[in-house]
């Protein structure tokens, strides 16, 4: 049953669900990256999320579970940064680090608070990668997702409903990357040949929002 606030356990459940999705889609994401990149996106994301969960488990088993959302996301972000490499490591890493910094010492987030944290994450991705709409990157899934989320919250939606809207928008944004000619990341080296393929990073980002929607709906 959906809640008005999201707590640390729910956020960890979200990350766990995301890990499950990238693991399940390891070959698929890598295959997408074969077409217009260097055939490692699924490998990178799986390595990163596995490391994230090793870190979370270490904290929980070590008796020092995360006290605040910032604690959690700082660990998640730093682990992504230090275990993934490539483009997705700094980008997803910065996303989570900024989420944490924005959530601060909170132990739960309401719909608006979660939205603010997610948007800070998106801003971090833009600060790092300078991507704009239509560059055929994860931005093209993430940005419409955040817009849909904010619109839903403005309309009174709870976190689960807003996440549901975000997930639908991320999927649409992901699908809309297909015809685009890439202007950022590795796919840009292909020029016109990058058109006609889904962007791998937009695809993993859509999984991130799908995981969020499903976790919060549960």
């Amino acid at each position: 049953m959906a809640q008005d606030t999201v707590d640390l356990a729910a956020l960890i459940a979200w990350l766990d669900s995301f890990r499950g999705y990238v693991t399940e889609n390891r070959a698929y994401l890598t295959e997408l990256d074969s077409a217009i990149g260097d055939a490692d996106h699924g490998i990178n994301m799986t390595r990163g999320m596995d490391a994230v969960f090793a870190k979370i488990k270490e904290a929980q088993d070590g008796g020092t579970p995360f006290a605040t959302i910032d604690d959690l996301f700082k660990a998640v972000g730093m682990t992504m940064v230090t275990s993934v490499g490539g483009a997705s490591g700094p980008l997803y890493g910065t996303f989570f680090l900024r989420m944490g910094r924005t959530a601060g010492t909170a132990e739960t987030l309401d719909a608006a608070g979660l939205g603010a944290a997610l948007r800070a994450g998106l801003d971090g991705v833009v600060a790092r990668g300078k991507a704009e709409a239509g560059d055929k990157t994860m931005f093209d899934a993430m940005s419409p997702a955040l817009d849909a989320y904010d619109a839903a919250v403005a309309g009174g939606a709870d976190p689960a409903a807003a996440a549901q809207a975000a997930s639908a928008a991320a999927d649409a944004g992901r699908d809309a990357t297909t015809p685009l000619v890439a202007r950022k990341g590795r796919a840009s080296y292909l020029g016109e040949r990058s058109a006609g393929h889904l962007d791998p990073g937009a695809t993993s980002t859509a999984l991130l929002f799908q995981a969020l929607a499903e976790t919060l709906a549960a």
């Binding site: 890598t30 260097d38 990668g129």
Partner: protein, 331 residues
């Protein structure tokens, strides 16, 4: 997938074990996946580090040594290393005169090295960076991520490494790096794809009578696919865009014919002959040359051509002693 490996996820770790055992010139920090000189350079000299995804050997780990790099950070196959590796390497090699980061222009490499430079800066180490972006296959525009860094990186590491060995200060070293980076152009092609071990299958399919023109060094497809052609036509397809992009006349040139990993030396020498003939016809004076697989793309078959406009300073540093597993002369 046919490779001499154990578990596909352990390729880098296993290769570092072998490198450490085989090369007494190198120290390998297996945990942080950093390759250092066994004998560090003297205090007061600028240090050079580079790094990048693995699968390009001997670059960069095999280019660590006297007259070249001080350390190299190894990422997973075709994946930039992480900022913590680069920060650690920067701290270890700094001899009090600052550290130059040699970065190839890929979004991941650039972002990770940027984060590392911020971290090193916070730790009080002077860091400068040079980003190579010599691949003329890629269109250059302010709207895109710009050109890839490819073969020129090897030449730059050699030349700038020799300069740092003289005790030149960081500003001088950085200025030379920028000059080299601005004066070289490259273009590559592939006959086959390669297989990222953890992916398990070739990155792209290609027919027996086709080739990819304008590839980088990560097994990615190139700018366009063509019917297979004789070596002299391929040489033309590589040399033409290089010459169209930059004026190499009126100065000595360093010419580098690189192998992508699966192409044997006999073909690289043959290609060098074709490339040299075209450059001479275009009025370019070849002063130095380098032929071999120095910057590979796993087992991809193919080649790339790099031309660097040199001058007396660059030639002097090119000829200076270098003692690394992958490049060695003069000492």
């Amino acid at each position: 997938m046919k490779k001499l490996i154990n578990n596909p996820d352990d390729v880098l770790a296993d290769a570092l074990v072998g490198l450490a055992a085989a090369e007494p010139l190198l120290n390998v920090d297996k945990k942080n996946r950093i390759v250092y000189r066994a004998t560090p350079k003297d205090q007061g000299k600028v240090a050079l580090i580079s790094g990048g995804g693995s699968g390009h050997e001997p670059m960069h780990g095999g280019l660590v040594g006297l007259g070249m790099l001080d350390a190299a950070c190894a990422g997973a196959v075709f994946t930039s290393p992480t900022p913590d590796q680069m920060e650690e390497a920067t701290k270890v090699v700094d001899r009090g005169a600052g550290v130059l980061h040699i970065v190839k222009n890929y979004t991941g490499d650039v972002m990770n090295f940027e984060m590392a430079a911020e971290l090193a800066d916070a730790a009080g180490i002077q860091v400068e960076s040079v980003v190579t972006h010599d691949d003329v296959a890629v269109e250059d525009s302010t709207w895109t991520a710009g050109r890839r860094g490819v073969g020129l990186t090897v030449l730059l590491e050699k030349i700038v490494g020799a300069c740092a060995e003289t005790g030149a200060d960081l500003a001088t070293v950085k200025a030379l790096a920028d000059k080299v980076s601005a004066s070289g152009r490259s273009m590559g092609m592939a006959l086959t794809s390669c297989t990222v071990p953890a992916a398990g299958k070739p990155t792209f399919d290609i027919a027996e009578d086709e080739m990819e023109i304008g590839v980088g060094i990560h097994g990615e497809p190139g700018r366009h696919r063509e019917k297979l052609a004789p070596a002299h036509e391929i040489a033309q397809m590589l040399v033409d865009p290089i010459l169209a992009d930059f004026d190499f006349t009126g100065a000595p040139a360093i010419v580098f014919v690189n192998g992508l990993g699966g192409t044997p030396l006999i073909e690289l020498y043959l290609m060098y002959g074709e490339v040299a003939a075209l450059l001479e016809k275009a009025g370019i004076t070849i002063a130095r040359s380098l032929v071999g697989p120095y910057m590979t793309s796993l087992e991809m078959a193919g080649t790339s051509v790099t031309v660097l406009r040199a001058d007396d300073e660059i030639l002097k540093f090119w000829d200076a002693p270098v003692v690394t597993p992958g490049m060695r002369w003069g000492a």
